[in-house]
Symmetry: C2
Subunit: 672 residues, 2 copies
Amino acid sequence: MASMLTLLMVFLLLSLYTFSLVSSHQHHPLDPLTPSEFTLVQTIVKKSYPTPNHNLTFQYIGLDEPDKPTILSWLSNPDSTTPPRRALVTIRLKKESHDLIVDLTTSSLVSDNVYLGHGYPLLTFDEQDAASALPETYEPFIKSIEKRRLNLSDVLCTTYTAGWYGEVESKRVLNLQCYYKEGTINFYLRPVEGILLVVDLDEMKIVEYYDRSIAPVPKAQGTDYRASMQKPPFGPHPNGATFGQPDGPGFKIDGHNISWANWIFHLGFDQRVGPIISLASVYDVEKQTNRRVLYRGFISELFVPYMDPTEDWYYKTFFDCGEFGFGQSAVSLQPFTDCPANAVFRDAYYVGQDGVPVKISNALCIFERYAGNIMWRHTESEISDEVIREVRAEVSLVVRMVAVVGNYDYIIDWEFKPDGTIKLGVGLTGVLEVKGVTYTHTDEIREDVHGTLLANNTIGIYHDHFLTYYLDLDVDGEANSFVKNNLETIRTTNQSSPRKSYWTVVSETAKTEEEARIQLGLNQLELIVVNPNKKTKLGNNVGYRLIPGSVAHPLLSYDDYPQIRGAFTNNNVWVTPYNKSEKWAGGAFVDQSRGEDTLAVWSLRNREIENKDIVLWYTIGFHHVPSQDEFPVMPTLSGGFELRPNNFFDSNPVLKTRAPSVVPGPNCTTQG
Amino acid sequence: MASMLTLLMVFLLLSLYTFSLVSSHQHHPLDPLTPSEFTLVQTIVKKSYPTPNHNLTFQYIGLDEPDKPTILSWLSNPDSTTPPRRALVTIRLKKESHDLIVDLTTSSLVSDNVYLGHGYPLLTFDEQDAASALPETYEPFIKSIEKRRLNLSDVLCTTYTAGWYGEVESKRVLNLQCYYKEGTINFYLRPVEGILLVVDLDEMKIVEYYDRSIAPVPKAQGTDYRASMQKPPFGPHPNGATFGQPDGPGFKIDGHNISWANWIFHLGFDQRVGPIISLASVYDVEKQTNRRVLYRGFISELFVPYMDPTEDWYYKTFFDCGEFGFGQSAVSLQPFTDCPANAVFRDAYYVGQDGVPVKISNALCIFERYAGNIMWRHTESEISDEVIREVRAEVSLVVRMVAVVGNYDYIIDWEFKPDGTIKLGVGLTGVLEVKGVTYTHTDEIREDVHGTLLANNTIGIYHDHFLTYYLDLDVDGEANSFVKNNLETIRTTNQSSPRKSYWTVVSETAKTEEEARIQLGLNQLELIVVNPNKKTKLGNNVGYRLIPGSVAHPLLSYDDYPQIRGAFTNNNVWVTPYNKSEKWAGGAFVDQSRGEDTLAVWSLRNREIENKDIVLWYTIGFHHVPSQDEFPVMPTLSGGFELRPNNFFDSNPVLKTRAPSVVPGPNCTTQG
């Protein structure tokens, strides 16, 4: 009897614990939708459209985040009622795209709008799989493969968005290009050139077929990157490394809220854009309060145009968020290699075409980084009889996702530093997109092949990567201004100075969106988001500075179709007034879009942005000329940018940090 | 008897061991001078000038490295005679600068040239100390301090190079500015403004004295950065971190040769420029051979102009290598914070004014870095029934020096990656240079104060940091070319393409120095040093690409005196033909130089650089507008650039690397 009671108590306690965990998880209004919420959406939507399932497809389900004032008022009074949970749903039904809003609190369909503009929603994996399977039973294709003396069973076709090239009428189509997987898993390096298939996604059938040229299929040899397939000689072999934390991890996760050192933020996830950082605040030790920095930040769009204008390649100008879903392209991270031993992993969910939630295990990882860097230091030896040396090692917190969009792997890091800096890291790796050609030596090449000869019969095509970040900074509150600190040369006029010149800061607050469009590299300037209503004790505007990373300007003509669609990259920096509907720089319906709903278009309204709730858009870009060193898999090319406090704190916020106990590892030998 | 024999044998073995160690250490012709070699130089020089010691001062002693052909021929036949050891010595004697060459093998003075040009050699710490001590017994100064109601014993003066401002005649002088150390060790934040002293270094006396204005001395409160002096509230407190290597360190040090993974290089040290990386080669697994990358690389000059043109500040335009000695400014690194637990430390030596070698303990550290980064990866899920995931974590090797030039701390990293990349990191920390003013709030400021109000009565003055790297790349051999790959927009003319534009690479090999002067940011281009005589099997030129970091252009007028002296920063990139005498971008005698012997002048000869042994000069720059968050000590601001293989390897050089065993740490918990 006693043991029964004990068991019961344990059960009750466990239930209580589970409940409190769940309730805690459920309570933040910015939490991504849970699997059961996905299922609820599915149920509600299917109830509204009791048609056979195959006619209705779910293209996207995401949180319809509550209005910003609602969130802020809820935050200021956490005991108040949680704002209603609503989902933003995009479906395809009878060749039409619908934007639905589903209220999860009341289990009801709030609105249902048929989208009549140009462009189509996110592609689902299911429809891409279905399209990819069409060629294997398509007679003309089978003949083309036979003509090339290839085995059909080793041919694999993958999907490419078709873009928009001035067509007046358009259907929802996908292009297919095919590869040969015989002898390698790295089929991307064995393109079967000359064949282009166009699939009508609504009909799910091949509607156009081209077999216009033949090129050799590059050999399998040397393409496989699996360790198990490598042959000697091996190397190089760096020794192993281990990272540990004697006092345990320094961060806490409560639901989707993460707190670490002086940072607290909410980590969401969206099937379109991936990780979303919300409500990032930094604790000000002197003011003894959390101070707001970033209301919401994510990669809004990723534009990847290839530079081969020829008939089978011209269309390759991809938008990885709006077309393929950067979030649903997240892959499971491998412990110890994708993320270090001290990482904690989180799963993520996206909706399958049938409305069923799909889990990505370990889609995100969170870890503390100690890279051997120095947070601050000084050695003072000018004072007699003592050498003063104060050094603080730097530990930071990283949130990571890896998204694999076809051949390319993107490593996306959000790094939080105790000094208040947020560093946004981008790593490019994976497999290059290549074209099959006859050439086996550069001497044979007499034309522009639009790329680099990487292996026999293999050209790595020139391309760009533009990652456009949405950064709704709320520096100490919503009302912010965007300040351009131009560094300008002044000629001295005062004869008393032996100097002829110096530079000074000419500060300009952007009043309108137009004044905040910046092409970097032309001028020497600092870009700062300030709160004009909050000053330091000394009177400086509190702010955060954007320290740009790798700067690349688009090189496509402004009037070229892909650049019209990707016009949000025309400037490296834009600022817009906050508008809940303006989240996705390339527009909501990006697939085959015509550039009518991009950041560049919104910005034309030239709204006022001074002392308003503003959003900073920053594009980090890479022009990529492939190199043989990147074949058959590419060593990571890294870039990044920073948001760094700028008179945000009255003084160095890490002055009074404890010198972290960076202690010897288990096998830490010191050579003599 | 037996025990005596044993002891003798042990002794002999030990002697042998010691001898072999020494001989191994002594044998590389690029090794920095040893303490005994410094002493030998002293003896030889003093023998030549048997004057009383105080008349002869040693300003610089460094290795006179053997001619490059000599080194290369010695390398190709290591059994051949080691090239003779010679030292480059700069002395001051009877108000003249002498450049001596001392042969250490024959213990003889090879040459003795009196330098008759403008400018003076490196400053010694001894003469700076002597100059700094002059004011305390200088009556006018004592009166000035009394007038300010300050305690003389708390006043500390430090030395500032005077620069050149068009004077026709010049003496070897140093300026002094004074600070108040009462109540803080961070005296740099308590300037005593209005007093300027000029010291004649040859006479070692004050020759000019100005007391022209009085400003409040900023308070001590809040300036001390020592942990022991901080008052609550404390924080933030990241948890500790540990790094270890279960298989031990992966690098080997033999004398000054360091080998790690696929890298081997020689680590030298020079009192003027700090660490020198020589003969860096990377092992090519496929070719089974070491391939040359960098013959010699170091920071050639560091130009730090301040932007206050007023009478007591205008002269502050420093050249940290040529004036203060960046190498002799290296400080002892603190284990666990300056460098991680797995670091190995190395001492360095420079010459004291009296010719006696001075040791800097732990001046360099070498460590393997595992920052949780990914070397390469790909997840492949398009192949049915299997998900392929291959990931390699990145471990790299870092060589670090921290140089503290007065108030500023520079963290200088050379990072070697297994993929062949060399990453050059720069961290700026330490204490800002400030000016005392009457202001305690920005509202009171009605003039250009040339900086940011950082604390009461404290302006952090605008300034720049330009670090000019000397990079004698020998990509697979000496004869190299500099290629500008311009990315140019092409309008499509072929009506068959739906595209209107694309970009392509228009490659241009710089024939002369003029064609290799680059101001970055204006065009989209890739900069590559290639070996035009070595091609990959496919016919691509083997090369290394410069991936620039933080780009800053000088903003001083070209005709302004400091910029004439710092004209080597007028371009971000220069290429010169290798010339043993052209090492120091600002010239050999930089103190009070007139810009007659800079990289900009050498380059005017417009020599041919195609298919020659060439040197790449790259300047990484930072414009610095101080911010309150950087007071009283500055969180590190980081920058860097990369040299990355570009068709150097026939394929990814880390494809066949062993997946490093990144194992859990001792207390590595994984949250659920």
